[in-house]
């Protein structure tokens, strides 16, 4: 099981260590640093590294490496999932998961880690339970604590801990009862040179914010549940009901959580909302090239495509770029060779265009690789798969909650090859 955890920042400082069994010397991280050096790019550090006596399993989040040390055969996914859970918890407690936030709250961090894992076995990882055991820091609380001398540590056993619904606190009270669902769909796609789709799928999630008093029992139904054939559920969902009736029936956790995530992959269901026209070419002997990119809307069901940003990793030989944007603004970072074009909204009448000259290093050979264009965009009030919530029913409580559903479609890993 998980033996120790080291938190390491980008410059290679170990700024926190926690051991759940015997103490493992920091020097074990040298193997990690070695791998990090070899990988050149922080994102390319392999997640599983073997050392003579231990295995290091790491994740990289928010510019922090979470490096865990294990000694026996352990499912690596279990470790990785757990590490992400730790990062999520920090985010949840401190508003951000950063080195400063962790250092500022180091004692709470330590208490949390102790509470989350016992002898390497996960103990309490549900945010609801943790918050009852260790209260998140707020300015008000620290002031009150310093006056009254009370602590930010719960001293009774969290009620959810052992019930059949460990994700929910027992006594929840609200004056305004509300339940909101965000249906968020991301399109992952690879579009080839000629504009045809090589690969496309939709990664969807339904994130919920539920603030309902007591023990509400909810059922959420869809107009077209058939779309959802590949789904991952929050543990609160009753699988049998879904299997038989295609209804999501659950007693929700309190607060924000991800209800389900799903994948829609059949090609004909994945509409591609934008197209890109592009000419990126380099001339053999002139040390220069041409760059001309236009973005236009395709099938967007009458909605506006907004928040459009195009990113291009230009080849190493590119020195700088002289471009004119018909809309929005662009930047080119000559160190990382990343071109970013912040387009904004697409107006179908006047398509945004960015064109100009690319200057290459003189004498360098013509770049072989063709840069891909990475597109980000957002479409409000639309789930591109067509998924629609039918109704939400509540049982078990008498009050009438406010209900709401919001849809949004975004670009996920949306790449256009040139």
């Amino acid at each position: 099981m998980i033996h120790s955890l080291f938190l390491i920042n980008c410059s290679g400082d170990i700024f926190l260590e926690k051991h759940w069994k015997s103490v493992v010397s920091q020097s074990v991280c040298d193997y990690f640093f070695e791998a990090q050096e070899k990988a050149a790019d922080v994102e390319n550090v392999p997640p599983v590294i073997s050392t003579p006596h231990h295995y290091l399993i790491s994740i990289y989040r928010e510019k922090i490496f979470f490096v865990s040390v294990i000694q026996t055969e352990v499912p690596p996914l279990f470790v990785i999932e757990f590490l992400h859970r730790v990062a999520d918890t920090f985010q949840d407690y401190f508003g951000e998961c950063s080195e400063t936030a962790i250092k500022d709250n180091v004692v709470i961090v330590y208490e949390l880690l102790e509470e989350m894992l016992d002898n390497g076995f996960p103990l309490a990882t549900e945010s609801n339970i943790l918050k009852e055991l260790i209260k998140p820091p707020t300015i008000l609380r620290s002031v009150v604590n310093s006056i009254t001398g009370s602590s930010n540590m719960g001293d009774t056993l969290p009620t959810g801990q052992l019930s059949n619904i460990p994700w929910r606190r027992a006594v929840v009270k609200y004056t305004n009862n509300e339940a909101y669902f965000d249906v968020i769909e991301e399109i992952d796609a690879i579009i080839d040179k000629s504009g045809s789709t090589v690969f496309a799928e939709i990664q969807g999630v339904i994130d919920s914010c539920i603030k309902l008093a007591g023990m509400p029992d909810l059922s959420l139904s869809f107009m077209n549940p058939r779309l959802l054939d590949d789904v991952s559920f929050h543990p609160c969902i009753r699988f049998k009901r879904w299997e038989s009736e295609r209804v999501l029936s659950f007693i929700p956790p309190d607060g924000n959580f991800r209800l389900i995530s799903y994948r829609v992959s059949s090609q004909n269901l994945v509409a591609i909302p934008v197209y890109v026209k592009h000419t990126i070419s380099f001339k053999e002997n002139l040390s220069s090239g041409r760059f001309d990119v236009t973005i236009g809307p395709k099938q967007n069901m009458g909605k506006t495509v907004e928040g459009v940003i195009a990113t291009v990793h230009m080849p190493k030989a590119v020195l700088n770029m002289n471009l004119t944007a018909s809309q929005g603004s662009y930047t080119f970072d000559p160190v990382t060779k990343v071109l970013t074009w912040d387009v904004g909204k697409i107006n179908p009448q006047k398509l945004p265009n960015l064109k100009g000259i690319v200057n290459l290093q003189s004498g360098a050979p013509k770049p072989e690789e063709n840069p891909s264009v990475n597109i980000q965009f957002k479409i409000q009030q639309l789930a591109i798969s067509g998924l629609k919530v039918n109704r939400l029913d509540m049982y078990g409580e008498k009050y009438k909650p406010f209900k709401g559903v919001k849809y949004i479609t975004k670009a996920g890993k949306f790449q256009v090859r040139t």
Partner: protein
């Protein structure tokens, strides 16, 4: 006001200051001080000097302070064991606290204090907590047993905690069950022999119930535990599968993968005809694909596992090719894995798409990735014949880019394509030759040289090209040198008139000016071949090459089956069984897939006898290993003279043909007394062999051959009594028992076929898988009349040793397929080695002495033959009956020494020295052989012959 204030130091010295604060009367100040101490501890600063002061703060009502002190204790108790005792009282008291949170906290922390003295005090509180009324305390106590076991295993066993822990599996609370399972699994890992998790249908049922109700982490523990269970029949397997399937929709990817493991394993028991089998296959695809949309670290682990799953059951993901397409900003480790899986999934149906993608990747920035992509194009050509043409033209396009590493990779793979499709694409040679100068990597140079040598007759200036390489011969790597040597010899055999000078030059460079034994020996061999018998040289050097196999880097089936049992673990990431790398596993239990019950499928899957499924119908195919060129280089020779990868795993060993005909002929010529052939040339293969001997086998039938038995016939060599090879229940009523015999130079397999079914059996046929000595049926299996129910027929199948050779493990393993009108059945058996001892195995005395000296001492193996009451003469005559010939007998200090020789069908000589002390029934046998891995089996043959 943040915690960073705890890091600020003062002038007086931090420790001093803290000490004062810890001893302050004010509670608040104390707490702040402890926080400062903890803060220092988190960054690895040593604050152990404050131990007594911190422990003094332990007795408090303030839970936060208590927890903080506990945190400190856990870190430092080990370094201050005497003072840690001070804390015991508080722990014991806390274990009685009315608040379950405090009871649990106390038992939890006590377990973390890894001090022997404390463990004694821990036992009583722990016993109480294991039976606590509050499940929260019980579940914490369960984990504590595992902690205690880690510190003092004996104590845990003596105190009976293991039994209590086993009882907790039946606890009413699912969380307690999950933790008990987790604790037991961890303890079991360090004690593989102890049958801690005694799984039976009742306990499985409890686990499955708890599975639905416990936390996600508990689900992982339970699923991993379930995977170790062996259902008694397919119905039980199916019902477990049905209850595990809902876990595939869990949001936690570790739960999903553990569920996949259980399903993959139990599926093995389900008949493929079952509707449910198909449903299950369909259900497995979406969750696997979903794992790929997670964070890159998760993707990586998932991809490594998918790689295994795709090899075991390609049908699951065959339609999901596109999800493995690479995005340019995937981390490199994800890219490489995706590429691997793409090639595995490539088929005629999707090859166009795959190729288009690969071509795209070949223009990416990352060099490693580009190389692999180019190589992948070559692999596609070899795998999907219809695409070969397109692949070749794609590769030519890539060569036109003139990007150095792309060109080199392309040439390496084109060489393989030439081998796979001879006489088809040689027209591109001209283009390849243009790029000769730009090749600077050994592998690419060697590949190019191979091409030039192989097609010397079509390349006008082949001699010039090779000559140009020869100029810098000494600066080349061994790989290139060896290849150059072979290529020039090939050239010479094809165009003898113009190239005599060249060949002499290379031979003298190789034999006289080189320090490399491999190169020198190969040079000598060619030299001798060419000078004594050019016709034979032609036959050897320009021999027909075996086909290269379509799939590369396939994991050997038995290993694959084992790895499937380890899905989701580190073993699956490294594609090695845990025994190969996990340090903590003391002694290893090998896991294997359950056998399929009542299956009616034919030769389609290698389930029943792993690795034995392909009968030897196909032409000899050598699986290409990591170093394809290694094989190419060795084609002319048989045994890998250039050092083959020396590994401890038995996996790749199977592929290396160590005993093949090549070695055979070499040995013969060596025995012939050639001065040119130093024994050094054989050290390379020899060095590799012993590693594979101890390797475990997972053939369930392996033990069938029993050495004990009645007395065999006296004429001819010893024949063991027949044993059952294939029980009727495994072969739909056909029972096969048999033995092997050798009489006057011919080997036969004596079989007894019994029909225990209710229907008539007919249409019998038999086939052997490739084996170490090339045993093959010399005639078809002839059963005169259909076999009626309850009828038995006895027959003798003549065998010869001219079949294809593949090294088996164990060496004398024979995998047999028997077909009748009902189905095809597979079994494997071990044949006694003495059936391979040939009649002319008597060596000349002089020769014996010379050979004995010549074989290096490390090839000598010593064995004890116990409880053999015979005297030297009786031994000698008995052994002679089985073609073990006594060459000399000496009496040294009252002991009889017998010097004996024997020869195997493939020409391997084994020399033996048998020491017999009168009155002592234990003999000492020393065996010397150039292929020492046979020694053990020769010894077994000795034992068998002498004891019967």
């Amino acid at each position: 006001m943040t915690d960073s204030k705890y890091f600020t130091t003062t002038k007086k010295g931090e420790i001093f200051e803290l000490k004062a604060e810890l001893n302050s009367d004010k509670k608040e100040k104390k707490k702040e001080a402890v926080k400062k101490v903890i803060a220092s501890m988190t960054v690895g600063k040593d604050v152990s000097a404050l131990f007594p002061d911190v422990v003094n703060c332990m007795q408090t009502d303030n839970l936060e302070l208590k927890k903080l002190v506990y945190l400190y204790l856990m870190n430092y108790a080990k370094s201050q064991p005497d003072m840690a005792i001070m804390a015991v009282n508080t722990f014991v008291k806390d274990c009685e606290d009315p608040n379950p949170l405090i009871r649990a906290l106390a038992v939890r922390t006590m377990g973390c204090i890894r001090v022997d003295k404390i463990t004694e005090y821990l036992c009583e509180p722990l016993r109480k907590c294991l039976k606590d009324e509050d499940p929260y305390v019980r579940k914490t106590a369960a984990v504590c047993v595992a902690k205690l076991h880690d510190i003092n295993a004996q104590l845990v066993e003596d105190q009976g905690f293991l039994d209590t822990l086993k009882d907790l599996i039946s606890d009413s609370n699912p969380m307690v069950v999950a933790n008990a399972v987790a604790a037991l699994s961890e303890i079991a890992e360090s004690h593989p022999s102890s049958n801690l998790l005694d799984l039976n249908p009742q306990s499985i049922n409890k686990l499955l119930t708890a599975l639905n109700e416990c936390t996600e982490w508990g689900q992982i523990f339970i699923l991993d535990c379930l995977a170790n269970y062996m259902p008694k029949d397919d119905r039980e397997a199916q019902s477990i599968c049905e209850r595990v399937t809902p876990r595939l929709s869990h949001a936690n990817s570790a739960v999903v993968l553990s569920a996949v493991k259980v399903l993959m394993k139990f599926m093995e028991m389900l008949s493929k005809d079952l509707d449910y089998y198909g449903t299950l296959l369909k259900k497995l695809a979406p969750p696997l694909v979903t794992l790929l949309s997670a964070e890159p670290e998760l993707q990586y682990v998932a991809l490594r596992n998918i790689n295994l799953i795709v090899q075991k059951r390609p049908e699951i993901l065959k339609h999901e090719m596109k999800v493995f397409f690479v995005k340019y900003n995937d981390p490199i480790y994800v890219k490489l894995e995706k590429l691997d899986i793409m090639i595995r999934l490539a088929s005629q149906a999707n090859i166009a798409q795959v190729l288009a993608e690969l071509k795209e990747y070949a223009t990416e920035v990352d060099v490693d990735f580009v190389r692999k992509a180019v190589r992948a194009i070559g692999r596609c050509a070899i795998k999907v014949e219809q695409s070969a043409e397109r692949c070749v033209s794609t590769l030519l396009d890539l060569i036109q880019t003139k990007v150095n590493y792309v060109v080199q990779e392309a040439i390496v793979v084109i060489k393989d394509i030439f081998r796979k499709y001879p006489n088809k694409y040689e027209s591109v040679i001209a283009t390849l030759c243009e790029n000769l100068d730009s090749l600077d990597e050994p592998e690419a140079r060697a590949a190019m040289i191979w091409i030039v040598g192989e097609y010397a007759e079509r390349i006008d200036n082949a001699d010039e090209l090779l000559e140009s390489f020869l100029e810098g011969f000494h600066d080349e790597s061994t790989q290139v040198q060896l290849q150059l040597l072979t290529a020039i010899v090939k050239l010479f055999l094809k165009k003898p008139t113009e190239t005599q000078e060249l060949v002499q030059q290379v031979l003298s460079l190789a034999t006289q000016d080189s320090d490399n034994p491999d190169l020198r020996d190969r040079g000598y061999i060619y030299w001798r071949l060419l000078s004594t018998d050019p016709v034979a040289a032609k036959e050897v050097v320009l021999a027909e090459k075996p086909l290269i196999s379509e799939e590369t880097d396939l994991i050997e089936p038995t290993l694959l089956d084992e790895l499937i049992c380890y899905i989701g673990t580190l073993a699956s990431v490294y594609h090695k069984p845990p025994s190969a790398f996990v340090e903590g596993s003391r002694g290893v239990v090998h896991k294997s897939l359950p056998p399929r019950s009542g299956s009616s499928e034919s030769a389609e899957s290698p389930d029943a006898t792993p690795s034995g499924a392909q009968t030897s119908e196909q032409p000899a195919v050598i699986p290409t290993q990591g170093d394809l060129l290694g094989d190419l280089l060795n084609l002319d020779l048989g045994p890998p003279v250039s050092s083959p990868p020396i590994t401890t795993s038995s996996v790749q060993m199977g592929a290396v043909d160590l005993l093949g005909g090549g070695l055979d002929s070499l040995l013969r010529s060596d025995v012939g007394g050639s001065p040119a052939m130093g024994s050094a040339s054989f050290t390379a293969p020899n060095a590799v062999m012993p590693a594979s001997l101890g390797a475990p086998i997972s053939s369930g039938l392996g033990d069938l051959f029993e050495l004990a038995g009645g007395v065999g016939t006296l004429s001819g060599s010893y024949v063991a009594p027949k044993t059952i090879w294939l029980p009727a229940m495994k072969a739909k009523g056909l029972e096969i028992s048999g033995t092997f015999s050798r009489q006057v130079g011919s080997i036969s397999m004596d079989l007894l076929l019994t029909n225990k079914a209710l229907q008539v059996m007919s249409d019998f046929a038999i086939q052997f898988n490739r084996n170490s000595f090339g045993l093959a049926p010399a005639a078809p299996l002839h059963v005169h009349a259909p076999l009626a129910p309850n009828q038995t027929v006895e027959l003798s199948l003549p065998l010869n040793t001219v079949g294809s050779v593949m090294k088996m493990d164990p060496l004398n393993n024979l995998q047999v397929a028997v077909k009748n009108n009902i189905d095809v059945f597979y079994f494997s058996t071990l044949y006694p080695l003495h059936i391979l001892f040939v009649e002319d195995g008597k060596m000349e005395r002089q020769m014996f002495l010379a050979t004995w000296k010549d074989i290096p001492n490390e090839n000598e193996a010593q064995f004890q033959i116990k409880d053999c009451p015979l005297n030297a003469d009786a031994v000698s005559s008995k052994l002679q009956g089985s073609n073990i010939f006594t060459i000399a007998k000496r009496n040294v200090e009252g002991q009889d020494m017998l010097y004996q020789s024997l020869k195997l069908t493939n020409g391997i000589w084994v020399l033996a020295e048998l020491r017999i002390q009168p009155g002592n029934p234990n003999f000492t046998l020393s065996l010397k052989c150039r292929a020492p891995e046979v020694s053990q089996y020769v010894f077994q043959a000795y034992e068998t012959i002498l004891k019967n």
